[in-house]
Assembly symmetry: C2
Homo-oligomer: 237 residues x 2
């Protein structure tokens, strides 16, 4: 198996959603840029607005979790803190408006997604495993036009080995039977490999700072695009 994936071991082929099936990080990045523009006139000289926002997000992660609502609460909090209590209500109103736009914007599928799911669906049981906010992820799934490809959908709090183990138990498969496809080495690849499963990394051009990992020692199967996944997971005819 030169490419490192054994199709015969796959009992469930699972896909991440954000930045694997559809764009997500682009909107967060655009919101961060807008946040910095909005705060700039109200920020003392020498403050790195973007870094302060990231620090606020990191500090809040364990209590607010992932997703647009958590991100917005961190933007609002950082706006008050960074401006030393001088940010005007109009800016706060704009931050709320950004969050509503993010929560309601149409799903933008990445290239080849429906074709890839249609190609692998007849051969594998497909599951969607996504992290984040329940209401927003559900809205994206139901409006994506992709829901019918999946046998099961999981919105989880954290993608760690314990979560993947629980999911495989619920699906009635051994952890080694899971093959996960996603853009995050930290969330989609390493915890699945740790359990003895298989994983395919499909990098996205943007990676959220808190998803970055640099110090792992695992050999990772990586492809440039989702379009390369079918030939990895399907046996030769």
């Amino acid at each position: 198996m030169s490419h490192g994936i054994d199709p015969d071991r796959i009992a469930v082929l699972a896909f991440d959603a954000d930045d694997t099936l559809w764009r997500s990080e682009d909107s967060f990045h655009a919101a961060e840029v807008r946040f910095c523009e909005l705060l700039e006139p109200h920020t003392p000289a020498g403050i790195d607005t973007m870094a302060a926002l990231a620090a606020t997000e990191r500090a809040n992660l364990s209590i607010t979790g992932y997703g647009v609502k958590a991100f917005t609460l961190s933007m609002v909090e950082a706006a008050v803190t960074i401006s030393e209590g001088r940010v005007p209500a109009s800016v706060i109103g704009e931050l709320i408006e950004i969050s509503h736009e993010m929560l309601t914007e149409p799903v933008q599928l990445l290239p080849n997604v429906p074709e890839v799911l249609a190609a692998v669906g007849p051969h594998h049981r497909l599951v969607l495993i996504t992290k984040g906010d329940l209401v927003h992820q559900t809205r994206k799934i139901t409006t994506s036009g992709l829901e019918h490809h999946f046998d099961h959908i999981e919105v989880v709090l954290e993608k760690d080995p314990a979560t993947y183990r629980r999911i495989t138990t619920d699906l009635g498969i051994a952890p080694g039977g899971l093959c996960m496809v996603g853009n995050s080495v930290r969330s989609d690849v390493l915890p699945v490999l740790e359990l003895g499963g298989q994983a395919i990394h499909v990098p996205y051009h943007l990676t959220w700072e808190l998803e970055e990992v640099h110090d792992h020692q695992m050999a990772i199967v990586e492809v440039e695009s989702l379009a390369a996944v079918p030939e990895l997971v399907l046996n030769e005819p």
Copy 2:
């Protein structure tokens, strides 16, 4: 069956969590009162601050869902709107602080909860079905000391017949085998009865305005306290 519950039909005994197993609405109510106090000096005469907040919540429900983060975003939005853009950043900072307190406050179990779960657990398969924010509900479940009583835990977006049907399918039971115990007629009782299941209403002293129902025609089994549940769901010795 004069009390209206048939123990022999129960394949899964499911419990709601907020205001059924532990206090929840009290904190929201206290936050609303504090919101009104904080906004009062910045609100034009004649504005009903509490009603304006409820209207904002209702308008946002479909895009932000339930829970503390959604509630906080509505508080922040309403603060900007009600004050006609004059609310100071310090008040916004206090609203964020209220949300952090709500998200991290210790779980306050309602009376008799561990005893009731211990009494029914040996006789029925127990499941927790709760609505709200994934990260906050998960934190409450894991810190409640109750998690070990449950065979399965579901955090859902909306408690409607479709959701209950999906859960019973996942649990491998017919909808008629579900018996749900909870404080909300709208979310815990009516949709389960609609599917042919059984339900026990345990009212809480506070009901969120958006959970209220007034126009149903169903006969509902209601008890004053969770302590009355075991004798309803257990067969005579």
